[in-house]
Every structure is written in structure tokens, then in C-alpha cells.
């Protein structure tokens, strides 16, 4: 591990300037909740709703991260990712499929010749409780297997013990392994507990070279929340002011219906502008969200509420 404090990451940000940002992390949680809930009252209807729903489909990372995942399951999911609703030719493909490293090769083969990317969770997702060498191996394996994007977890043990430097260094090291491969860093906001911690972890991850910061693993009962997303987007904006770089945000865990997802889009649009309304900078990690979005699109087009069994499984 690098202990030299002058070491800089790829974005050329020194540890000192990260520290400065991190220690200036006071958040007015009452004001935050007020702002987020006031944005949740926007009513998005008809044409705008359809546009939003189509956008959500193109921003989805279709995910399966279970011990029971098989090649068959991945191939079923990949088919759905490429063509989420075969009965409607206007529906986009989703952004990516997200799998464990062992299944990257299978996933890559199945989405070949489509716009769908393959994301792999690595660094011993979801706990990340292994030595650094293992995390690097895990990540290297996923990249060699063909992953376009890598989702890692921050070292929550180090973070909660106050060893922010270790958190930073680990991400820097993993970004070095990733090179041009997109790096998404999962903060696991449910473990961080406070908004201040979420802001600190966001800034550390961004400064260390993450291309995306992501709310949750989806393995905790506490998943993403719009408040957590708000804190993270503010950090992304501050980071942009500092470096000129636009990092992305991925929200995951517990976003099950279209209404909730649209509220996230409102939040992003109001606070960050439409630059972020693109799969390159904003993603939903969800398995059940997509089904509800497809149902709602069909409802808007036909006027009839739909049943889940009319859509592909995966």
C-alpha cells in the first residue's frame, strides 16, 4: 500500500486536497429531507411520463447476484436485457447486465453485437472483507473475462474505523487495475448510517478515480434512498467544480416501482441538469424495477394495467 502522501491518482488529486473536502462535510439533514420531499411532489404525466419511462429502461443495469446464478439464468437475463419487451419494438435495450466475475464470460458472449454492456461486481462484493491482493485478483479476473464495467465496494471496515486513507488507496489501486474499464464504487449507504459519512465516502471515492459512485449493494435491507442520492449528487457536483470531471451516479437497492424511479430522475434533472440524464452518467441497479416500468409503458400505450406474466422473465 502506498503511504507516500504526495502520491496522486489518475485524476491528479492529492490526498491533502481530498482531506480538505472531506473535513468540510456538514449536512443540514432537516433541510435535505425537505428539499428531497418537495421534489417528490412533481407530477409527471402522459408524454413526459412515457419519455421518462423509456429513459429509465435505457438506464437500467439488469442485475443478478445470487449464489444460485447459472449460465442458463444469465443467458435468459441477457436476452431480456437486449430486448426487454419483445411485444414492443420501440423499447430500448437496457444499459448493462451486472453479474459476478465467474459469469462475466457467459454474459459477454450473450450480449455480443448489442449495445448492452457487462458489469461485474468485484473486490469480494458484497462485504469486501478480504486482503487487498485478493481484491486485485478478483478485479483482474473480471476484466480479463471481458467486463466493460467494474463495481467494487469501499472498505467499510477501514472507513468506519476512520482510516479514510486506506479506503482511498484501495480504490486508487483498483482503478489502476481497471485502466479504461469503467469503475463504479459502491458506498453501501446503509452501512454508513449518516449523511456526513455518505458525503465523505462519496468524495473519497470520486477523488480516488471512480467513474461512478453507487449507493448500495442491494444485499442490505436498507437500500438506496433519494436523500442518499441527493448527498451523493452534491458531492459529484462539488467534485466537478474542483476538477472539471463529470462522474456518474448509480442508485441500487429497493427501487421497485416506476413512480419512485421517476422521482430520482426529477432529483437529477433539478439539481444536476440534463447532462446527467443519460445512461453514461446515471444508472438504476434493479431487477424488479424494469418489470414495473415495462408494465407502465404498456399501460400508457394501451390504457390497460398489465400483468407481470406478459413480460419476459430474467
Amino acid at each position: 500500500m502506498q503511504n507516500n502522501s504526495t502520491v496522486k491518482n489518475q485524476n491528479n488529486i492529492s490526498w491533502e486536497s481530498v482531506l480538505e473536502l472531506v473535513y468540510d462535510s456538514k449536512i443540514d439533514s432537516v433541510g435535505l429531507k425537505e428539499r428531497v420531499s418537495s421534489l417528490a411532489t412533481r407530477s409527471i404525466k402522459k408524454d413526459s411520463k412515457l419519455q421518462a419511462l423509456n429513459m429509465i429502461v435505457s438506464m437500467c443495469d439488469l442485475t443478478t447476484l445470487e449464489g444460485e446464478d447459472t449460465e442458463g439464468k444469465i443467458s435468459q437475463m441477457a436476452a431480456k436485457a437486449i430486448n426487454p419487451d419483445p411485444s414492443d419494438g420501440e423499447i430500448n435495450s437496457v444499459a448493462a447486465v451486472c453479474v459476478y466475475p465467474a459469469l462475466v464470460a457467459t454474459a459477454k458472449e450473450k450480449v455480443l453485437n448489442s449495445s448492452v454492456k457487462v458489469a461485474a461486481v468485484s473486490s469480494y462484493f458484497p462485504s469486501g472483507q478480504v486482503p487487498m491482493d485478493s481484491k486485485i485478483l478478483d478485479t483482474q479476473y473480471a476484466i480479463e473475462a471481458g467486463a466493460d464495467e467494474i463495481d467494487i465496494v469501499i472498505n467499510r471496515k477501514a472507513f468506519l474505523e476512520g482510516d479514510y486513507r486506506k479506503v482511498f488507496d484501495e480504490i486508487v489501486a483498483l482503478k489502476e487495475v481497471c485502466k479504461d474499464v469503467h469503475l463504479k464504487t459502491i458506498l453501501e449507504v446503509g452501512d454508513l448510517k449518516t449523511y456526513e459519512n455518505i458525503r465523505k465516502a462519496s468524495l473519497i471515492s470520486l477523488a480516488a478515480g471512480s467513474d461512478f459512485i453507487k449507493t448500495s449493494t442491494g444485499k442490505l435491507s436498507v437500500g438506496s434512498s433519494r436523500e442518499a442520492c441527493y448527498v451523493m449528487l452534491k458531492a459529484v457536483l462539488d467534485y466537478k467544480r474542483l476538477t472539471g470531471l463529470s462522474a456518474g451516479i448509480k442508485v441500487a437497492g429497493g427501487i421497485r416501482d416506476s413512480k419512485d424511479a421517476i422521482r430520482y430522475l426529477v432529483l437529477i434533472n433539478e439539481e444536476m441538469g440534463d447532462e446527467w440524464l443519460s445512461p453514461d452518467l446515471f444508472r438504476f441497479g434493479a431487477s424488479s424495477l424494469l418489470d414495473d416500468v415495462l408494465k407502465q409503458i404498456k399501460k400508457l400505450k394501451t390504457g390497460a394495467y398489465q400483468a407481470g406474466y406478459y413480460f419476459p422473465r430474467g
Binding site: 390497460a304 394495467y305 398489465q306
Partner: protein
Amino acid sequence: MIEIKKTFKNYVDGKYVRSESGKTFNIEFKNSLYEVPLTSKKDIRDAVTSSKSGFKKWTSVSPYTKTQILYRLSEMIEGNRDSYIDLLVSSGVSKSNAVKDVNNSIEKIIWFAGLADKWEQLAGNLNPVSGDFFNISHQNPIGVVFSLNKDSNSLYTLLSGILPPLTVGCSVISFSETSSILALKFAEDINNSDIPDGTLNIMSGDFNKVSEDISKHVEINLISLHEELDINELKVIEENASESVKRIKYLPQLEGLSSILPYLETKTVWHPKGT
């Protein structure tokens, strides 16, 4: 003593809710004017989502336990019989008819409670076929049932739309119009009887305002009409429903075993006779 008037609400997914639209309509009884929820399209959608999961919960309850739960429902009504009689009288029913109505209702529930673990024997069949096969007509609950109740202040009539589908394992959205007070009161006893949340949702409103969404909703499997509709209105509903092959049945008051048959669908199973 201060007189406390009750605000009746819809009963959806085990909770008492107002209409999300905030709209209400009035029902006038002898000494009271009630403001009850005017169910909106979104309320219907929520109720169907809840009924869908309610159906899963209710079908996984064993017939034996269904019997006990329905029996408990009759116990709950028995304990509240005076309040039912008062409400019926206040709606304009004579005292003696009100007493009769509640007594008959309790008996009806007990009869259906008994049927819950017996209807499969009575409605299913082993069919004669020429060949070494068993050919079995296996009866299954049809799924989510939307029931438009008859406009009448009678608990017995209300139960005629609810108990048959419930007994065979369907989940029910029970919709009443001008006589909805009784149904909304009945929801309180459903809540106390261990029927899983979402299995029985009770709503009040104007059927015309929501009929399009109901007839088009793919996840409703059967619409049972206990109130006669205008022929043109029925035609539109039937056309909408045909898109999702939804069944629509006009069901006058049926009694006994024949009352459950509309809520069943038959699965035919062929099985070789083994030796």
C-alpha cells in the same frame, strides 16, 4: 357524553384508507349523513396489486385453516351483532328484518366455513375415459375477482358476492355503491378474523367512474356482477375485458354449492393407471 361519529374508509391491503384522490360522496341514513370514499382509478390499481399478493397468501393457506378463519369471521360478527342491527335499522330496514338478516348472515358464513375443505370433493371429478388413464377434473380458484355488489342494505346479500369466491381461495375486491356503509363496516370484522391482508379488499364508489380501468386491468381474472348493468355499458365492459380474456359473469343470488362454481376453473389431468 360526546357523540362520536365514525368515518368509514376503504379497506385495502389490510389498512383503512381514504381515496388517494381525496374525493368522497354522501350516503344518507335516518339520523346520519356519511361521507365515504369515492374510489379512484389509482385506488383500484392499488387494490388489484394488493389482491394479487393476497391471492398468493390465501391459496397457500390450507383448506382446514381457511375453515377456521371463516368460522372466526362469524364469531366476530356475532360479537358485533347489535351494532350491525343498529346500522341496518338506521338505513331503513325494520328491526325484525335486521335481526333476521344478521342471523342468516352468520349462518351463511358458518356454512361456507364448513365448505372450505369439502368443495374440492364436491366440485371435482374423476372422469370416465376409454383407456388405462385416470382423467381428473381438478378445480382451481380463478384468481383475482372483482365483485360489484347488489345495491341493497343487507349483509346477507353482500356476503353472497364475497363468500363463494373467498371459500374456494380467490381474492376479492368487493365494490359497493350506495349501500357501501354496511360493506365498509364489515371490513372491520374481516380485519379481526385472520384473513390475510389483500385477500379481501372493500371499496366504495361509483362503478361507472372506474369500470373502464377495471375491465381493462389484466390482473383481474373475473368480474362478477351482482347488480344489473345497462346493456350498452355491459357491452363496452365485455369488449374491454376480451383483450385480456377476462371473464364476466352476471350472477343473480345463487345458493349452495352452485354459488362457488363460477369462481372455479377446471384443470384436466391425465395420469396413466400404474400396475
